[in-house]
Symmetry: C2
């Protein structure tokens, strides 16, 4: 019988998170900047928004950071997550390549997001917070926050982009089932929201606006902790359980990836899978190609500028040095809502800048084509975000067929698509558009990137 | 760190299915009857609808039946499934009881149904069939059939009860993503469907009607295999991987259940978990109470008659000796669509008749209350069907608290509720009804039970 699953027992779960900053050659990662002074954020300033242990993790250059027992106990609900060899997909492609995937859809909310929601909730609880507040686009992050809050007996308040709130009632219902309160953004609950609604009562919302509302709500209630779903160093750090497990599972498979592929929005899923492999490479291990895959509709890594920019539209939060399309950029409404990010986590950006990672942009219909092929051979219906990684894994496997090379390809299957079947419906109906951003809009947004520290 | 997950590696997966018929004391299970002659179905008659290996399994009294390698390889996609100790729920209940649950929601379609869809597809493929046809109510079974067909390169045709087809577009989209064709029933594709639509163009459909349409389509195309989702001996057999794994996992936990709880419709999930434990008991092992939990809206085990009756409304299929409310009974539209069955698998019925199992009926709002409590402590949002098992597990744990006894309770969490969040929405809105069947309707339906072999 061909072996297809490589499982780790709960005793083989990682006990530490892996911090890539410890192994990065060259200058230390660029610091975040205060949005008012444009000077590096101090610890004291960071303490306004984050509990001490998370600040420590955000700034740390230690290689290994211990995962608290309470977090590991909750991880055990779905971790270690399985790693599979996609033998049926390989056969269908007629490729000599060996394709593996690491599957995060077994988490209670169906994606990798709880890997960081749980520790963020934990540290906020330790710091005396009784509730969490955050923003969400398509709802993956909001669901994970709602779940994590319920585990620690905390309240959760989620500002959800209004158009998604209306299009995805199941995501809202999932958050409410966990006891969270979910509000369509822009709302009348905040100054920011009221101002926007006064200008445009039909405003469909955006992640930038929702972030501003969450930050405003956070600022007004000292009992609330603000948590975030991607991009920040500590968020990427928490996700490295994925790649650490994958390294051990590839050992069980007696194989090692030549290529690691991950979909890329804010970068946390990609970093979670790839950073531990990059760490091995940087410490003298095997060479591994890492490919970040983004939607053609939001080509942050392939067409963005490397510069200091805001993560939020409202310019309330700090500036980060990263690939950015400009904080004013609003990408076309592709179904991979989790990848519609104008900027990317600074550590991922740095990896691309330093040539440790490649980036590729793919149109969504090509991704759905690969996603359907995957569902029909491997059995799991992937989230639209994850289909981006599948598309490139398939393309690389087809290249192996052409070249007659038997490479080992590992990709991240970041979540299942059970909440996204309306998108598959549209794909089959032929009504999915392959919108690319208008060149003039891209240029406008790039013009909005501040001049701070451009080099 | 408290251990909460008890995992088996892929090498610890069962290699055989367990057949309770080998250990049942007393007379052999009552045979199915030909719907026309009312004589026991012959093998030759069964061969019209089932490939030889499935007939063999349907009639076998061997204790262990080998699982083909091709099936085990596909099971490995989510099996062995995890068994958890619900420590957070225990703490929330303040009970001295130890509560465990076996989780089947990690399957690609989110429930236990693929455990039998895959072997049924496999044997039909071996028999030269190129496609599968079946009926589905809420869509769990149709999804599993679509998945299994895609694994073996077969077509799949699913007649889905029209009201569910319209209420649950995501379930239909899931089937189509796997390449299946899904038709709302009654349809104009069959004689049966056309006749019903002529009488009542707005007919919302029923599982009985959908079954008749699937059987008609099957009869007209020799390339199609007909597959079924519950009740039959071979279906229950395939599900016993659940309980066999659970026995080994309880060993890992160094514990053994005093009580095993499962939700009960056609009986396959309940049997899959409990039969291996009952087998141990019957072979001189430890005493274990098994509780079958059904919806108060469809009290087959608690208010049904033990008699020979049809499984389908159209009386096209055989008669089975079972607890039945009458084949004409249409239960109120509770959200646990998978439990709306007028009859139950003959082997489960026999277990209740012989006192090997107890049965309990619970109203749906009580079940959702328990389901929400479970989601907020354990993190997994359960399918409405599964909340029935949770309700009784919680009730038994609360009884332990009252009595100061530390019993071990194991229940089956047959699926996740990601496709059922509209039902949770209605629960929170307070618009869920606790419909019970009208006494006059129950009496009418009972009158329709044929007089064949009533004892």
């Amino acid at each position: 019988m061909d072996r297809t699953r490589f499982s780790l027992g709960e005793n083989d779960a990682p006990t530490t998170w892996y911090n890539l900053a410890a192994d990065l050659p060259g200058a230390p990662p660029a610091p975040a900047l205060n949005p008012k002074t444009h000077q590096p954020l101090t610890r004291a300033e960071m303490a306004h928004t984050m509990p001490e242990p998370l600040i420590e993790q955000e700034l740390s250059t230690e290689r290994e950071i211990e995962i608290p027992d309470a977090v590991r106990e909750l991880y055990a609900l779905w971790r270690p997550s399985p790693l599979f060899r996609a033998r049926r997909l390989e056969r269908a492609l007629g490729t000599p390549a060996r394709i593996y995937y690491k599957y995060e859809g077994g988490a209670p909310t169906g994606s990798h997001k709880p890997n960081t929601a749980i520790p963020q909730a934990y540290y906020n609880k330790l710091a005396g917070k009784t509730g969490l507040v955050t923003e969400t686009g398509a709802g993956q992050w909001g669901s994970a926050t709602a779940l994590a809050a319920s585990f620690f007996g905390m309240t959760a308040k989620v500002y959800m982009v209004k158009v998604s709130f209306e299009q995805k009632p199941y995501r809202r219902a999932l958050m409410e089932t966990y006891g969270a309160r979910c509000t369509p953004s822009p709302s009348t609950e905040t100054e920011v929201g009221r101002k926007i609604l006064a200008d445009d009562p039909d405003c469909p919302g955006s992640l930038g606006i929702a972030t501003s509302e969450a930050l405003e709500a956070f600022a007004q209630d000292p009992d609330l902790g603000y948590v975030l779903g991607s991009a920040a160093n500590h968020v990427l750090l928490h996700q490295t359980v994925i790649g650490q497990e994958a390294i051990r599972q590839m050992e069980l498979a007696e194989d090692y990836p030549d290529i690691v592929v991950g979909c890329s929005g804010g970068g946390s899923n990609l970093a979670g899978l790839s950073f531990p492999f990059l760490g091995e490479r940087l410490r003298g291990g095997r060479d591994v190609r890492v490919i970040a895959v983004e939607p053609a509709a939001c080509p942050t890594l392939t067409q963005g500028t490397i510069a200091y920019d805001y993560a939020d539209t409202g310019r309330l939060g700090p500036l980060f040095r990263m690939h950015t399309l400009g904080h004013g950029f609003v990408p076309p409404a592709v179904h991979a809502g989790g990848l519609r990010a104008h900027g990317i986590g600074p550590l991922v950006s740095r990896c691309v800048e330093d040539g440790l990672m490649e980036a590729r942009a793919v149109p969504q219909t090509d991704c759905f084509e690969a996603g359907v092929r995957f569902a029909r051979t491997e059995g799991i219906v992937p989230a639209p975000e994850s289909t981006h990684a599948i598309r490139v894994a398939v393309d690389e496997a087809l290249r192996c067929r052409e070249e007659g090379t038997a490479k080992t390809i590992l990709f991240g299957l970041s979540g299942h698509g059970h909440f996204d079947l309306a998108a598959y419906d549209r794909y089959f109906a032929g009504t999915l558009a392959d919108d690319r951003p208008d060149e003039a809009l891209l240029a406008d947004a790039a013009d909005g990137i501040p001049l701070v520290g451009r080099g």
